[in-house]
Symmetry: C2
Subunit: 498 residues, 2 copies
């Protein structure tokens, strides 16, 4: 391995690039610069040298430098406009896998536990910048009935305040649990009693809570490859060893899981609408997965993160409804149907787990505030949820049709889309000579958030990663989406290839 120390960027110090190594130089440069930002060697607001200068100084091709800069831009470590220079971001992005890992060294000095370090260093949950096309998982807040919501909140507390205010059940507000059970039974064919429904502060808490309760450090857990980093972080927080299991056209490949992680205690899956590929798990695969769990006394966590938005095909039953052995834990969220800051979700657990969850919950946080729960209960019980959901589904169906048409037109002959039949995003598959993180970098420069598919693979660099962009469509109107799609297509066409 020929390592050379490049003595550039006054504040940066020497950077070692392995010119003979397997990792592309642009990737090495990206990592070195990112680390410098995280370490504080490159300070917020500091200007990076023009790509031409850096390339000349370091003996690199300009393309290498541009690609590295674009990746940093896509992930929010730097900001910049075409022609105006590239600057270290004023505040590090929430949005970035690894962005929470800032100042590793400082933290080690601070005295975190090993677990605390793992938590701080686990891939952060990508929360894409709100307000930009094509941020993921952001609902269209313009049509949420906030006045009604305000009214319900007021009504709950004006009259029933004292009864609501007393010591809460750590498992949640009973009337809300009953409404959710009824809804899930009717709409998702989940088999449950209200007692099995646990109210949590968002699906993330549900996953973390179940991981803590069911996994010990070192236990293996299957995760979908590709998959959502937030889900993985919840398992990593419990010390689990993640076994990435490939997803094909039928969902998670159970046979591959058994080959790679035979002793796994848990499988975390998105059967209704796989994230990010959009595949629906086939019935055969569902039964196989359930058989595996029953035979091994393993757990299946079903993350049904956006199945409310289904645009075609028959309504799809949850995996949980097929489970005869009590091995499935069903997790859902109100963030996407209601609004993100509500932070209410639910976990449906097998009856045997109700009391252990109550005990664990008491130790972790004593339960979720009754304030949002009581209003959400009224929102469901009075039928507002059903009508809001219907309205959003129609609205998103229109947007989805529009973005698919825009993409088909703007990317004709260049890229293809995969949309599944549900959800709030589509997947744009790119040809190999148009690497997703590079195009995402260019897109970030013009104000577009386009999470690269490759970042959802665990082996960040491997050749097996998919190449594409996720385009969330829920938060913008068709005209804005069309403009953004055309901007993106132009950037793709202008990209230096090879």
């Amino acid at each position: 391995m020929a390592r050379s120390a490049c003595p550039v960027l006054s504040s940066l110090g020497p950077v070692a690039l392995d010119r003979a190594g397997a990792e592309p130089l642009h990737r090495q440069l990206y990592r070195a610069l990112r680390q410098a930002v995280l370490d504080g060697r490159l300070r917020p607001g500091e200007r990076l040298p023009p790509s031409r200068t850096l390339a000349a100084d370091w003996g690199l091709s300009r393309n290498t430098v541009v690609t590295a800069y674009d990746t940093l831009l896509a992930e929010g470590y730097v900001t910049g406009q075409v022609g105006a220079g590239t600057f270290v971001a004023a505040s590090l992005p929430d949005a970035v896998p690894g962005g929470g890992a800032a100042r590793d060294e400082a933290r080690r000095g601070v005295g975190l536990s090993a677990r605390g370090r793992a938590l701080a260093e686990a891939p952060a949950i990508a929360r894409d910048r709100v307000g930009r096309p094509f941020a993921l998982g952001t609902p269209d807040l313009a049509v949420f009935p906030f006045a009604l919501w305000a009214q319900l909140l007021g009504r709950c507390w004006r009259h029933g305040g004292r009864a609501l205010a007393t010591e809460p059940d750590p498992l949640g507000y009973a009337p809300l649990r009953a409404e959710i059970a009824a809804y899930l039974r009717a709409v998702r064919a989940v088999r449950c009693e209200p007692e099995q429904v646990v109210i949590v502060s968002g699906a993330q808490q549900g996953l973390a809570l179940m991981a803590q309760l069911l996994l010990d450090p070192g236990d293996e857990a299957w995760v979908e490859e590709p998959g959502w980093p937030g889900n993985r972080a919840a398992l990593l927080g419990a010390g689990a060893r993640l076994v990435p299991v490939p997803v094909d056209g039928e969902g998670i490949d159970v046979a591959a899981g058994m080959a790679r992680g035979a002793g796994a205690r848990l499988a975390l899956v998105t059967p209704s609408h796989q994230f990010p590929l959009g595949v629906t798990m086939s019935l055969a695969r569902r039964l196989r997965l359930l058989d595996w769990a029953a035979a091994r006394d393993a757990w299946i966590v079903e993350d049904d993160y956006d199945s409310e938005f289904r645009y075609a095909g028959p309504p799809l039953a949850a995996l949980q409804g097929l489970d005869g052995a009590g091995r499935v834990i069903y997790v859902g969220s109100f963030s996407k149907v209601m609004f993100p800051a509500l932070r209410l979700g639910y976990v449906v657990v097998p009856p045997d787990l109700v009391e252990p969850v109550r005990a664990a919950r008491r130790h972790f946080d004593g339960g979720t505030s009754v304030v949002p729960q009581a209003a959400l209960h009224r929102f469901l019980a009075d039928g507002h949820f059903a009508s809001h959901l219907r309205a959003m589904r129609s609205l998103y169906a229109v947007k989805r049709t529009a973005i698919l048409a825009s993409v088909a037109d703007a990317f004709a002959g260049f890229a293809t889309t995969e949309a599944g039949e549900a959800g709030m995003h589509i997947l744009l598959r790119l040809p190999p000579d148009c690497p997703d993180h590079v195009l995402a970098g260019h897109a970030a420069r013009v104000g577009l958030t386009t999470p690269p598919l490759s970042t959802y693979y665990r082996a960040a660099d491997g050749g097996s990663a998919g190449n594409g962009l996720l385009l969330g469509f829920a938060a913008h109107d068709p005209a804005a989406l069309d403009r953004a799609v055309r901007d993106l297509a132009r950037l793709a066409a202008e990209m230096p290839k090879g």
Copy 2:
């Protein structure tokens, strides 16, 4: 050891009592019956045999059986009225240390992780039945301004809804963090910037979060002896080994802590108003504790659970304000000043921990709902919090004076009180021939909740445990408190001694 199997109680099966052992027979019987309830061998609603019958059948003194029954009654495992028989409780109490440990066997079969079992089996947080005298930590909800609260909730969402609804910061709603920082600086002499304030779903989540972040399994942590089981459970949930450190008239005995747990990574203390003894930690002891933490790079978690209610003496600065080394984490809650179901608290962390907490928080739950936060922000910012607090402080001062007078009169020459100068309960010290759990059992029978002091000691049976009852006074008016105190005194006087 002479063990005899007593073949009684049809549904109970044989019970082994060690008649020659060190543990009193009433205690053994209590544990055996409790286990039978937890196992489901004694079913909810099932009637226990009259104490006279059981005593005759098992060859025990009747006093032994009555004492065991009374302990079960005090802890909520059974219900009963004098003369009407004793029945297994319809639902197991939330209220009971160990109550969450039901059905250990079933759980082991269920497939919990070792950590999950520890969580499920850790002493539950005693939540005393609301509505009874002398339940602990329950504010007087009759005077909370619910109409105003309803108005603020409505106002937040009617106009600013869309801005509030977007992706929340996992550390909390920024305007609320700023208000809390200003309040803590002014009133508690906490040294902090708004960025250091982390909003949590109650102090319990704050403790659990910090324990996960700062402690690894097996790490030693000092806890006050006696102390609050909920605090301990948060540390146990992180796998900590608890080192009980005695509390004397100056607070936690730092020298004893250094002798018993020299390598501890963390000390969890209640300096303003020790729970349950009510002691204020002396300045000398505070400085000694801070020196220890600074020298060992250990953490101090300051649980300032009820310091808002201080009735005499100068306002007391928080330990955190004396900390020059950035080792103190300050935890507070709004449950007691506002209402329990609000479930909002805060943690003030040293600047170095802000980003690790943000990362950890993202994995655990992604943050607390903005719905209660926004309304609480207005409640603080518009001055309602300050005036509510003043009103509650005056009200509780009156109640406290009243209960102290009632106790002084009703227990004259028999028991003494320790009240400290703050908080929402007083401590009634009992003479040795009036064991606290026995009197608490009698009290439960007449509808009084009087947590026995001995249950807050870690070594549940040891001779070192204190003997007394905690009497919460905040939720009831002076007349009701006086009646309850006189009932309690009569029960104490009627108790068979010895």
